[in-house]
Chain length 452, copies 2
Amino acid sequence: MMEYIEQLHTQRRIGELKKYLNEINPADIAQLLETVENERTRVFLFRLLAKENAAQTFVEFDGDTQENLIRAFSDTELKEVLDELYIDDAADIIEEMPATIVKRILKNTDPETREAINTILKYPEDSAGSIMTPEFVDLKKDMTVEDAFKRIRRTGLDKETIYTCYVTDASRHLIGVTTVKELLLSDYDDVIEDFMETNVISINTLDDRETATLALSKYDFLAMPVVDMENRLVGIITVDDAIDVIQEENTEDIQKMAAITPTDTPYLKTDVIDSWKKRIPWLMLLMISATLTSQILTTFEDKLLQASVLTAFIPMLMGTGGNSGGQSSATIIRAISLDEVRFKDIFKVIWKEFRIGAISGLTLAVVCFIKLLLFDRIVLGNDAVTFTVSIVISLTILVETICAKIIGSTLPIIAKKLGLDPAVLANPFITTISDVVSLLVYFGFAVLILHL
Amino acid sequence: MMEYIEQLHTQRRIGELKKYLNEINPADIAQLLETVENERTRVFLFRLLAKENAAQTFVEFDGDTQENLIRAFSDTELKEVLDELYIDDAADIIEEMPATIVKRILKNTDPETREAINTILKYPEDSAGSIMTPEFVDLKKDMTVEDAFKRIRRTGLDKETIYTCYVTDASRHLIGVTTVKELLLSDYDDVIEDFMETNVISINTLDDRETATLALSKYDFLAMPVVDMENRLVGIITVDDAIDVIQEENTEDIQKMAAITPTDTPYLKTDVIDSWKKRIPWLMLLMISATLTSQILTTFEDKLLQASVLTAFIPMLMGTGGNSGGQSSATIIRAISLDEVRFKDIFKVIWKEFRIGAISGLTLAVVCFIKLLLFDRIVLGNDAVTFTVSIVISLTILVETICAKIIGSTLPIIAKKLGLDPAVLANPFITTISDVVSLLVYFGFAVLILHL
């Protein structure tokens, strides 16, 4: 596709180029234009887009491209793009821009829009208010279906979605909801009040944006109404924005679970120093915490010298403990994210993980015991792997698996209860903790059974 | 809420109970009824729901509850619920039911619906075809806006969404698309052909369902049209189902990344044996693979006895390698899922991770070196931690970090290229591999620098 565009461009076949570009979906044009290396060519191509396409394409660019384009725009051009943007998109863009650009953007929007943008920007990050748009269709309860359609036709063009219509009273309280589908299937002279849904599900501006999107998904809504403390309707969250939030939250969870500070920049666009900044603090913290394991090993150094065969199984034991705990923590962190597990379930979780840990540990211990005696001792001829040594290793597996499962599943629940982020307590942290537990259990059994 | 329902039920205030239940959103009724322990009470309460509510509630139940309800239903009741279901929901339910129930369901659906359900069931699991519904609004290009609205009013009630309308030719080829918003904002005598979007984005029945949902999200669609090999429109995927797929795929990815066989049963509803079955194979595989580390340690046992201080740092070194690799693999696996990184990017990825690994490794190595000499040697008075030993440990950190980052980032890309699941190559597997690498690097430097 890009080759064809470049060809038309070099041959100055501008008419054809314009027609070609405007037939592509804005999400695709944005992707194409981002691959254009030459800044001036990109601005040139962007200027060929029809007004509505231009705004829709602009929204899809990443922050850097948007910034560069705005710098290249005249005030008139900037105003044209801004006029076509939805309020929530404009607010998103402004959040990413340096102060000088923000000033220019706000200067080129009309006062009403500016106020609406500022309202959204004032809500805390990650709140429902910060991702809503004030552009929704509101109806009055005494309107007929015909009135409603008239209103939608008159005001609908600038609304992000028209399909869910909200019924408000004189003080803008949300009192009902209906859909264009219902309107279409009703008679023209039916009155809204008679068929609107009055048990309206809504969320508060200060609710977490994740709560809002989970609710939207649970109720299969196309938009979730957002109300303020006085139950006045102030905005809606549309389903396409909700999907973006879901994907971002999932990416963040996965990053945190891998001990990375979250970022929403796509991988190939993050620079090396940025990636380093997101990753090094956690690596450092985990490395320093591992000092504990070194301490334990130093303490037991004499005993290890007496039974040096024990050293060979340290990595395997720590790996097994870490993996067992990691499974539990990942499962529970995800269940918390999906609101399937709450603090009140903590004892159910402990009891369940105890049982899973017990049968998993037993299975692993038995297999390991057989493997040690058959493979390590007989096949590899490692005589140091005696019956009692195998007992010590297998018992350690059983106990550490149970401990790791309980630690891995309860810490995220407790973290959530304390207002911390459960996703941080995933594999890397659980591994560090379970390493310590595993070593203590190992040496405990060694001292007890091998009489070191 | 449940207390009030139980109170009305015990007092046999059935009229009030019915009114109360029918005012609650079906997604919430389903959650409430699932908490009812007594099977007969649940069936009784379910029977109080109005026909449309009943079907919508039924869809929200988990498989077990659905099965139990169907067993309690008379044929008439079953038919009533089935008639209200959308085809894709009916297909979903059937997939989970035992053969006898499936037979009863199919017996109680009309032949046309039965055929439609069977068509969906025939598509491979995880394909776009398997999650689509054939109930969409189709228009003809020579219809006027007025004709279109007439058609929507006549057929819209049973469609899962009416807001995106598809224009097909006589052989059902998809030739255009328009929306109710556009129809509402047009004049009654405008002809569809004149304003419909002709660059229709669609996906194929056999495409992966994840591809379908990513595209729907990219283009902000409310529904994604699904076409067969001859570009005939056979169904649509609605946005609410797309969100469910996105959440399921994310849960699956997180489970795989924690070395668990994926399941879509919520945590508290999975039984212990099921959880064990999903977790034990991977724990076992990883435990057995760790035999390699035991082998390496056994090989170097004599050398470790000569410099027993080295043992104390094995867990820390392996932890750091595992964490470094885990960060990279999680980042890349997520980027692959979001289609941000493809096989062609592999060299870019390697080069980037090499640099991130180099500066991260260097930072860690320097901090570790200082910590070893200041804390371990001076504060803790561990004289065995000499200058050269500290050099060996720090160099190992530098090299293992670089190796782990490269391994962690490239293996998922290669896995994807080979048609395997990249998510499986996450932290646990990368850790096992990086453990081996770390130990080899460690003993390599030890032999070289300490002349063991």
